[in-house]
Amino acid sequence: MELLPQYLANGLVTGSFYALSALGLTLILGLMRVVNFAHGELYMLGGVMGWWATTRLGLDFFTGLLLVAVVMGAFGWLIDRLLIERIRDQGEEPGILLTIGLSIFLANTALLAVGTAPLKVEAPLSAGPLIFGPVVLTKLRVFAVVVCAALILAAWLVIHKTRLGRAMRSTFQDPMAAQLVGVRTANVYAATFAMGTVIASMAGMLLGSIYTAQVSIGGLVSMKAFVVVILGGMGSFAGAIAGGLLLGIVEALWGGYVATGWVDIIGFALVILTLLFRPYGLFSKRAERA
């Protein structure tokens, strides 16, 4: 039992990473209704580009992060304007197939470019431990949690406090009405997809400095992100955070007390149970089902 605080702390740390990795997906899935199977690959690209920027270009971590955000933002914008725009309003099937095709393409092209070896993103801090009573965490992880929180807060502010955010919310309530009052909805869709891409790629780079950035990680990241989004309810910010933390803690406790081999099954079991008993997510208040 004396390990419980440590497990909880580990769970909270992993959980905040899950929340950040899922945030981009919750925007794209919850608001745009695109079941984005390329989410994990966008995350992976962020990590690979972060590695490239910090080790090959010799940039420091934060300049690299900025570079990744700008490049991936433009990339996301282009994906939406060139591909997703053409299948808007056709139900979710073309979107699923399109993003599956995109994920196969991105994963294998990245594989050709950088190979299978794990890539280490240069971290901004040394890996020394921090001791809080019974709990030991590395400095780097605490730092990453802080950055996660900052990014999540920034995304929230963009959506709730800016003109672009207002345009986004109006477009996803009623695209026709938004268009009538002068919102350029095509740009809003593209901006939303770009924002989801930016968040995913920044998560990829940040976590690439703690674990490693790997080309083959995409599928796993997509799966975990889907789990978090379903747990929290689609399109819900608080839901994504709560879902991420919940998944992190449950996995840490299960891994600590039951069996490490079965950890990955928890997420899916939780998803199945959630969809059966609370299909709108644990924390969503919306009573409408897609």
Binding site: V35, R86, Q90, E92, I96, M223, W262, I272, P279
Partner: protein, 332 residues
């Protein structure tokens, strides 16, 4: 209806005479894989095309069937003619359970929960070492005894025969389902759930029937796969299998019976042909998928029916065109 039936019969007749002319083992192997994938794609098409819900968990049934056949054959010494039907039955049972839990959901929820089921089964296959031998998989699934003495070519021909029978059974059952009242009810649910309910169709009954039928067929395909490849590992539950199946159904045209056959043929050949391109293969494959979604949204068969419909309008009073089911979904 007759148009579709004629094409199906012609294709199956062509497939039946193929081994008389082909003596090359490699070509025969490709042909067997085409038949195997045609069974899988047709069974997935029952769910995707006729129920109209996008299932990403079809590998659950394939994998259940493959493991059932492998375990029965290696540990209990069952012969091939018993393991394959048993694999189908067990997969159908899994289909009943999964269907009862998931068919109440729609849209993205259905997609993700079916995917979760396949992942759960994959993790079980990976971790329940006592039953499934974990990541090492089950090797050496026994072949029928007389095949041990026969030549490699005879063995391939034997498996080709079984695959052909499986596909014939699949097409027969699908045809009977699609052109029965149950099939028409399922299509009504696909086109508009509320209208279907208002005329007394219970959506769950028909979607369930289609799902369980699909599960039965893909379970049998899984049993066949276990014997033919003689190895089953957790990768039968992998997403890669699912991706191949979906692409086949959609290239060919979902909601048509011929479409999945064409899709299986094209994709299997494309995958083999692109082997030449080695590492670039999957990148090209990904681009091909994107191109199909953008430029051929109703699949090849959808394209052909559209052409026929257009011609039917130009020349009035042709009955065939109206019988082809449309694949467009009503706006939700």
């Amino acid at each position: 209806m007759t148009f579709e039936r004629r094409i199906l019969l012609a294709l199956m007749a062509l497939a039946a005479v193929l081994p008389l002319f082909v003596r090359d083992q490699y070509v025969l192997h490709i042909a067997i894989m085409v038949l195997f994938f045609a069974v899988l794609a047709s069974s997935l098409n029952l769910v995707v095309g006729y129920v109209g819900e996008f299932s990403l968990g079809h590998t659950a049934f394939l994998g259940t069937g493959a493991y059932t056949a492998a375990i029965l054959a290696t540990q209990h010494g069952w012969p091939l003619w018993a393991t394959i039907p048993m694999a189908g039955l067990l997969a159908a049972l899994v289909g009943v359970v999964i269907g009862a839990l998931t068919l109440r959901l729609q849209g993205p929820f259905f997609v993700i929960v079916t995917l979760s089921f396949a992942e759960v089964l994959r993790l079980i296959a990976d971790n329940w070492i006592g039953l499934t031998n974990g990541p090492m998989g089950i090797a050496g699934v026994p072949q029928p005894e007389w095949l041990a003495q026969a030549s490699n070519l005879a063995a391939k021909q034997f498996y080709y025969g079984i695959a052909w029978v499986l596909l014939a059974l699949t097409l027969y059952l699908s045809y009977r389902f699609v052109y029965s009242n149950a099939g028409r009810a399922a299509v009504a649910v696909r086109e508009n759930r509320y209208v279907a309910q208002s005329i007394g169709i219970r959506p769950l009954n028909y979607t369930m029937l289609a799902l369980v039928l699909g599960a039965l067929l893909s379970g049998m395909a899984g049993g066949f796969y276990a014997h033919y490849i003689s190895f089953v590992g957790p990768e039968v539950f992998r997403f890669a299998f699912m991706v191949s199946m979906i692409i086949m159904v959609l290239i060919g045209g979902k909601g048509t019976l011929v479409g999945p056959l064409i899709g299986a043929l094209l994709v299997t050949f494309l995958e083999e042909y692109l082997r030449e391109a080695k590492e670039l293969r999957l990148s090209i494959f990904g681009l091909a998928v994107i191109a199909i979604v953008l430029f051929l949204p109703r699949g090849l068969m959808g394209f052909i029916t559209q052409r026929r419909e257009a011609r039917g309008e130009a020349l009035p009073a042709t009955g065939n065109a109206s019988a082809a089911p449309t694949t467009q979904r009503s706006p939700a």
